[in-house]
Each structure stands twice: as C-alpha cells, then as structure tokens.
Symmetry: C2
DNA sequence: CATTTTAACTTTGTATCGCAAAGTACTTTT
DNA sequence: AAAAGTACTTTGCGATACAAAGTTAAAATG
C-alpha cells in the first residue's frame, strides 16, 4: 500500500472521532454538552466514541462540579495532538499528490 | 454538526476506497492487478469495495482481453471525480480551520 | 484429452462497528 | 416525594470489513 495511505490513523477514519479531535485540537477544554451539540450525537454514541479516543491515550477526561452540576470536560493529550497532526499531514500529502 | 463534517462523503471514509479513488483520479485506467498490488487487498475485498464505488456511479468497469487473458480495468466517472474532489476540498477546509 | 493455472469474482462466515433506545446512578430542582 | 439533569452503560440490531473458500471460464501445460 502506498505510504500516504498506511500513514492514516484508523481511529480517525470515523467522522465522529474526526469531529471530536477537531474540536479538541483547537480548544483546550471541551465539555460533554458542547460536543454533543456541535456533533449532534446521542449521549451513548458520544460516550463510546470518546472512550475509543481515551483508550488510545488521545484524550483525557476531567470531571468536576460547576456550581452544583457535574461537568465532564475532555482535553487532548500530547500524544493525541501528535497523532492527529500526523493524520492531517497524511491527508494533506494525499491531496498534494492528487492536485499539486 | 459543523458543515465541514457533514460535507464528508461517507463512501470515502474507508481507507481502501480512498486509496482506490486516489489511484483512479490520477490515472485514467487502472486494472485489477495494479489495484490489488498497490493497496494490498485480497481479491474479494477489492471486488466488494469496488462494487460499492460502482454502485454510487463513481467508477466504471471495462472488461477486455489483453492478448488472451481477461483484463478488468476501472475508470473514474465524471460524477466520481466531482464527488472525490469535493471530499478532498472538505478535508482541506478542515485542515485550514485547524492550522491556518 | 485431462489437469492445472490464471483472472476475477461471489459466497460464506465471523468479528467488529455504529447507532438509537432504554436503563442506571447520583444529584438537584420543584 | 416526584421530576429533571448529567453522564454514562447496556442492549439489540443492522451494516461493514475482511479472509478464506468456492465458482466460472478460458488458457496453458503435461
């Protein structure tokens, strides 16, 4: 397989996880509600896709209380940032190869 | 969902189909063997992913004999080229938004 | 002529995925 | 006490991905 394809990260082949990482890479803290609204996901779907990113070590969870309400925020890890940036670089490379 | 994500084409969310379209968009004729070798696919996997692209009208099949051997080549359609270029444009847009 | 090979599939079986809906736990608001 | 909010987990089901094996038809080989 050509290198620019093997470089793609399997975990980012999902529209939902791509969207999550896109939010997390530009904003250091994103909470459950923001992600849910922005990506229009059900609670369960959000949780399971986010769990996949956590499992890879790409995302960290922070649980806190805001006032009296529980609040879950997510943050990208250094590893996650690196992996995502590399994935985007591979995409860019593919695009370059196709219409330089 | 943010627009740059809804614009993604579901059929191109697969590494294999992305690879196929990448080959087809730069080379007008690509045959079964070339694709198989380039993407390292089993016959069956190749055929079924290609069938998905055909079903969308993105790819055309051309069967012929080269000498005495049967030969199947694939070619991108105008529709396929358009869809793929739009998909790449959405990816590019995402990348731009993330690190302009 | 019979067997094997080649090309390109199709079928089958299995494992994984994606998603909605429902259920859970704990707390707060009413 | 009951209802609602937050963040899940579980369940169930249809779709997907893949390898492996089976199929078809012609060609090459013995």
């Amino acid at each position: 397989m050509s290198s620019y394809l093997t470089d793609f990260n399997k975990v980012f082949e999902s529209r939902v996880r791509l969207g999550m990482m896109s939010l997390l890479v530009v904003q250091e803290q994103v909470d459950f509600g923001q992600i849910k609204e922005n990506l229009q996901l059900s609670d369960g779907n959000l949780a399971s896709h986010m769990a996949a990113l956590e499992k890879m070590g790409y995302v960290e969870v922070r649980k806190q209380f805001i006032g009296k309400k529980p609040n879950t925020t997510y943050a990208i890890t250094a590893l996650g940032r690196q992996a995502f940036v590399e994935h985007l670089a591979s995409l860019e490379k593919l695009i370059q190869q196709i219409h330089p």
